[in-house]
Amino acid sequence: MQILIRILAKNKYDFYFFFLVVISFISIYNNNPYYNSSFFNSSNYVVGTFFQTRASIMSYFTLNQINNEIMKENFFLKKKLLQKNRSQYNYQDSINNSNYDSYNVINAKIINNSVYKRNNHFTINKGELDGVKVDQGVIGFNGVIGKIHSVSANFSVGHSLLSSKLMIPSSIGGSKIISSVSWLGVSPETLNVLYVPKHLNVNKGDTVFTSSFESIFPERIPISVVKKVEKNSNSNFLDIKSYPIENFYSIYNVYIVENKMKQEQKLLELNNEK
């Protein structure tokens, strides 16, 4: 015991460093929700306010780009509205409407975003007080951005599509076959589309959409566009590379979507599993 104390006393600096290493590794690898709570990430009040101030200063320098995006979105919505007015109300419309009616939408701004990490995050200027909850989907004007994983009173942080922690159920083109989109961390311009069977005809330029599985995103929201399809003889699935439909280097305005029926659906599924 005395020897042990002597060793500890002699190498106390090294042991202290080792202690800090242990704390850090616990922080890095711990999936405990305590660590994902809003205090220890950028959704906490001080850091969130800091990022919001920075974002509002920086947005003055990108006003032109933001205006162009809003103009583009307005144009798209106007066109849709005109098309809708011209067309007759039919069965297909009623299905689509009922699909989107079950979703609440909250508009928000991205105040911090990363693209070069293994697990990229974004911080949003809306939080619990605005109705944001964990596991809600986030979409931009063009398509999917990510999923909320931590919420404080006024801010929230989400995993972006460029995160190895996120896997989004999807379908390619008009097919109903379920696949998954995930990011393997190679480049912010490349997403992998997994579990697409070889018999499915997939071409370069096909759009990958969300499926209603997992009930986070509405169906048929674009995720990415196929850029390369390869058949691997060792696998039953196609090797598909795609590029994200959203430009993650410049995202500002986003929409948080909440499936109002999600709770009911999950509860029913859970009861059936028992």
Binding site: L20, S27, N41, Y116, T123, V186
Partner: protein, 171 residues
Amino acid sequence: MKSKIVSFFIVFFLQVIIFEKSYFFNGIVFSPIIFYFILFNYTKDSFGDLTLAFFIGFILDIFNDSLGIYSLGLSLVVFVRNYWIPFYFPFDRISSNKFYNSYELGIQSFFFYSFPLIFIFNSFIYIFELSSGIFILFLILKILLSAFLNFILILILQFLLLSSETKYDWF
């Protein structure tokens, strides 16, 4: 002492305002915060330095949504530096009020002293936070380039923040 605190705040704000979001040449990141931990005064086996590095790293982690990574990275730099300085410099040159910058050491000697520390820090950040799914050789090249560019940044910061009048006021 005053210039040390001012320099720290400048470096810290550069890190969280400008370089936290910046991404150069498809994968190079700048970490100006390391400037502070390479140049500050050396005390053998200082618990204070190690705790300070861990604490500042922890704050950076909160800004960066990367809990544990910067706190460990900066602690590692301070820990390695604790043994690196006595190893690299002849013992008659080591003293607690000596400063380790290019004014004092000369650029070449400063490079050989600081580059391994920057390289260790960058390797750690790349392995744990940035890289995934890339070839090992490509990763090493990226780390080397990133470390070299960070060394240049440290030199620039040093010339900007430690003017000839204030460089002796550093401690």
